[in-house]
Symmetry: C2
Subunit: 216 residues, 2 copies
């Protein structure tokens, strides 16, 4: 739960599907903690049973603009965004995030993990591909007590996997996502205002524009 | 790298295989930090290029005698150890550990991860089974830039997978493992002396006894 558009829409989707939701966020040395505040707000607004923040230090390995002192790229067009794996990529991030979710799922005896990965607008990230998610699910079913004989099969749900950003905005609007509480920017001002120029801001703006919905 | 018998023997094995070794330990809120000191000593003694400690908070989900205020079981016989998943099991621990190793491997552009899991003496842990490791490797090859087209296939090595504790002691002895620098106990005294009664101490003692080698 980053408190962004995608994870918040996922939570709203899961609530509508009837899941009791335990929201998990990560304090992973990202340069801004505004997203943790947004996650707390959106988890509460959408009725999560619980919201926990796991502290993990991804800076120990460095190598990303989201955790290192590397400038976040600005004003890129979409071909530049999709040309290569972006500098904002955090090594093995979804694998690490899913592994913590798996640990909590095991403690809760939960058999469903929901993650807001998207294969269309973030094609540069290897750990957003459908074949990656399928392989993770297969592994997860062997990894824990949830996966041992007689237990429920663990499922990784990816409701946004094949949606465009505009589709996500439309789904979020249908589900009543409080867009104004969400936060997407990779490089906000100290006061928490989005920069409007990083890949995340540009993709969000394009999504709302194409959906014909105002970003409040 | 826990600084125990298994991970230290793995490091010695990897050095003999010709790998340049980057040793990774975890500060995961375990009740004793003596193992991190043992890991530092053994990594240095066996010529690791680098040793890093990643801080992660597994206590956020609780549920294990290694991270919670639950008593470590003592003086159990082997049938009791193998009867059920032990209370010292940390949920999804190997999955989380391997995920951090995968992140570091990606940064280093390394294609080999070595882990000292063992399917014989720890049959109660689901994440020590060969089918789990195979599934993890398949997932890892889809998770990162190491796994994208044209890159080397990532391999997870488990040199101890099918060895008994006695076999591990024999292998360690052949490879010149400095047993005296290693630490295995789940519940050491404040001065760092092993308790001699937890599952880990009992299995270690049995391994040395059956190998006919003195534990110095």
């Amino acid at each position: 739960m980053s408190g962004g558009l995608d994870s918040t829409t996922c939570l709203a989707w899961a609530r509508q599907e009837g899941f009791a939701c335990y929201a998990l966020s990560f304090d992973y040395g990202q340069r801004h903690s505004i997203e943790l505040e947004a996650a707390r707000r959106t988890a509460e607004a959408l009725g999560a049973v619980e919201h926990r923040v796991a502290k993990i230090d991804l800076r120990v390995f460095g190598h990303s603009a989201l955790t290192d002192d590397i400038d976040v790229p600005k004003h890129r067009d979409e071909s530049a965004m999709n040309a290569a794996i972006p500098i904002t990529y955090v090594p093995a991030r979804n694998t690490i995030f899913l592994s913590f979710a798996l640990a909590w799922a095991e403690v809760l005896e939960a058999a469903d993990i929901i993650i807001g990965v998207n294969a269309l607008d973030y094609s540069g990230y290897p750990d957003c591909r459908p074949e990656y998610i399928a392989a993770y699910e297969a592994m997860a079913n062997l990894a824990t007590q949830v996966g041992v004989e007689g237990r429920t099969k663990l499922k990784i749900h990816t409701p946004l996997l094949h949606l465009s950003k505009a589709d996500i905005v439309k789904l979020g609007a249908e589900l009543g996502v409080p867009f104004g509480l969400t936060h997407s920017c990779y490089d906000p001002t100290p006061a928490g205002k989005p920069c409007g120029a990083c890949d995340s801001c540009l993709l969000r703006a394009k999504g709302f524009r194409e959906a014909g919905i105002a970003d409040l």
